[in-house]
């Protein structure tokens, strides 16, 4: 379901991140994996930033993780968020290891309800016909 008049910044996929955004569009979280390190990494590049090895593949992530940290945004620094403050920004550490910058949804933007290390899972918001944004909600 595309929303008319989406006013926030849209991601512009790069050649190396297209697989990630394609995955999101299908409501699946695909992230790159280094065959040498046997570890996931993020953000997408054609090589692994831990070993500079170029032998990589894409794997589907579980979509589960924990809130590594968060902040509650009380100011709309951009007109797109004018009607939504306060809202929660977070770094979610995936079960697979990498961290994603995201928003927590489905939870009160209140430190009584949000805390570090709380378990969360991915959910996808279809913000245009072509773009779906992964966000996270409490499990």
């Amino acid at each position: 379901m595309a929303q008319d008049g989406y006013r926030k910044p849209l991601p512009t996929p790069s050649p190396e991140s297209k697989r990630y955004w394609d995955g999101c569009h299908n409501h699946e979280l695909w992230i790159p994996f280094c065959r040498n390190c046997q570890k996931f990494y993020f953000y997408p590049r054609d090589f692994c930033p831990a070993c500079f090895g170029w032998d990589i593949e894409w794997r589907k992530a579980s979509g589960r993780g924990r809130v590594y940290t968060y902040a509650i945004q009380h100011r709309a620094w951009h007109p797109g968020w004018q009607d939504e403050v306060p809202y929660v920004t977070a770094l979610v550490q995936l079960e697979e290891g990498p961290r994603l910058y995201t928003n927590l949804i489905g939870v009160d933007p209140d430190p009584a309800h949000v805390h570090c290390d709380m378990p969360v899972e991915v959910t996808f918001e279809d913000i245009t016909e072509d773009v779906s944004l992964p966000k996270f909600r409490p499990v």
């Binding site: 910044p9 512009t12 509650i72 910058y101 570090c116």
Partner: protein, 394 residues
């Protein structure tokens, strides 16, 4: 990181800061362009040193002057330097520039380095356009962060602070101690913008900007220029004022985007700090005055930990009881800091100016008695980069 003998020998006392000053006006200065702020500060710092602009053979700057700050500033000042450095790693750049200038001077490439800064953080937005280059939409922060939030420093530093609070139990009250102590220093500095006293309760009752930061946990947004002059030990003998020696320096970067910061509860000062201390051959307890970037109360707190003045997680207890205020036993950010004196967007330059003045005994009511050794630490980006300096007076 274990410092090597080479680190220790590299730049110890090879160069000195011999001139330092702000632009004629700092604070809210809409009537001056950023380049005017650069030029006024350059003139004032060179006068302070007793050195003519024609002697400057190396120019250093960052941000706020287009895609190549040093090209623009050199042209504007009317000089043709044989060495330029536009290192752009955020507000720490100017502190790092001192190490870069020292390296250029120590190898004999130049004799007189001029580092300038001018930024209209408060007034620039109203002019239209931007002093900083636009972001490539495919870059990582544009793709993976900005769809979730646009707003920069307060957001990202708030997330780092939150993890520190969670992991170590650091409290809002402990963070507020820094805001209150820093304001007390500002009250002693005629050039500081915010000079009314505040209490811990004032900080805690100020509005939320980005939880866990209240308004008074956040630095000012001002217009200001500043400049310092760095010269060889030889040239320093013949300046107006006694030299402020660069005894040790260190530089470190660990990431750009907050998402990719390895450990949100420390800073790269944990790398640059030990190197600077080792080069200078001094211990923490030898330091008389400390000037660290306080973009937020948390930035100052975590920097003290990263530099090793206290252990990781102990910063909250360390700053409690107004220990960093005038009269306390740990003089910190004695000009009133980015929190209460000035902060045009990148603040590193003003750490250098204040440390120089303290070591020259020029600070009047806020002078730390008999200050001989200063530790300076600039932090840039999203806790991404640091420059640490140990400065000393004879």
């Amino acid at each position: 990181m274990t410092p090597t003998d080479r680190d220790k020998a590299a730049l110890y006392k090879r160069v000195a800061i011999v001139g330092a000053d702000e632009s004629d006006e700092i604070g809210i200065v809409p009537q001056k362009s950023t380049l005017q702020l650069h030029a006024e500060a350059a003139r004032n710092a060179l006068e302070d040193a007793g050195i003519a602009l024609s002697e400057v053979d190396g120019i250093f700057s960052a941000g706020s002057a287009g895609w190549s700050p040093t090209l623009q500033i050199a042209e504007y000042l009317g000089i043709q330097p044989k060495y330029t450095d536009s290192t752009s790693v955020g507000g720490s750049s100017f502190v790092i520039d001192v190490e870069h200038a020292a390296a250029a001077i120590a190898t004999g490439l130049i004799d007189v380095a001029l580092i300038t800064h001018g930024e209209s953080g408060a007034s620039g937005g109203r002019r239209g356009g931007s002093a900083r280059p636009a972001l490539d939409v495919q870059h990582p922060s544009a793709q993976f962060e900005m769809p979730y939030h646009v707003g920069g420093a307060p957001t990202h530093y708030a997330m780092a602070c939150m993890r520190h609070m969670y992991q170590y139990g650091t409290t809002h009250e402990q963070l507020a101690e820094i805001a209150v102590a820093t304001r007390k220093w500002a009250m002693l500095n005629p050039k500081a913008m915010m000079r009314d006293p505040i209490t811990i309760d004032d900080v805690l009752s100020s509005r939320w900007i980005a939880y866990p930061f209240h308004l008074l946990d956040c630095c000012l947004v001002t217009d200001a220029g500043g400049a310092v002059v760095v010269v060889s030990a030889e040239r320093a003998k013949d300046c107006k004022k006694p030299p402020v020696w660069v005894l040790g320096s260190g530089e470190a970067t660990t990431h750009q985007t907050i998402t990719n910061m390895p450990d949100l509860t420390t800073t790269p000062a944990a790398i640059s700090g030990p190197r600077a201390f080792a080069m200078a051959g001094v211990r923490h307890e030898d330091i008389d005055v400390v000037e660290v970037y306080d973009s937020f109360t948390y930035t100052a707190l975590v920097t003290l930990e990263a530099l090793g003045f206290c252990k990781p997680g102990e910063g909250g207890a360390f700053v409690s009881g107004q220990r960093t205020a005038p009269g306390g036993d740990f003089p910190l950010n004695t000009n009133g800091g980015g929190l209460s004196y000035t902060h045009p967007g990148m603040y590193g330059m003003f750490l250098l100016i204040e440390a120089t003045r303290q070591l020259r005994n020029e600070c009047g009511d806020r002078q730390v008695p008999n200050a001989k050794l200063a530790c300076v630490n600039g932090t840039g980006g999203t806790l991404s980069s640091t420059g640490t300096l140990i400065l000393g007076a004879d």
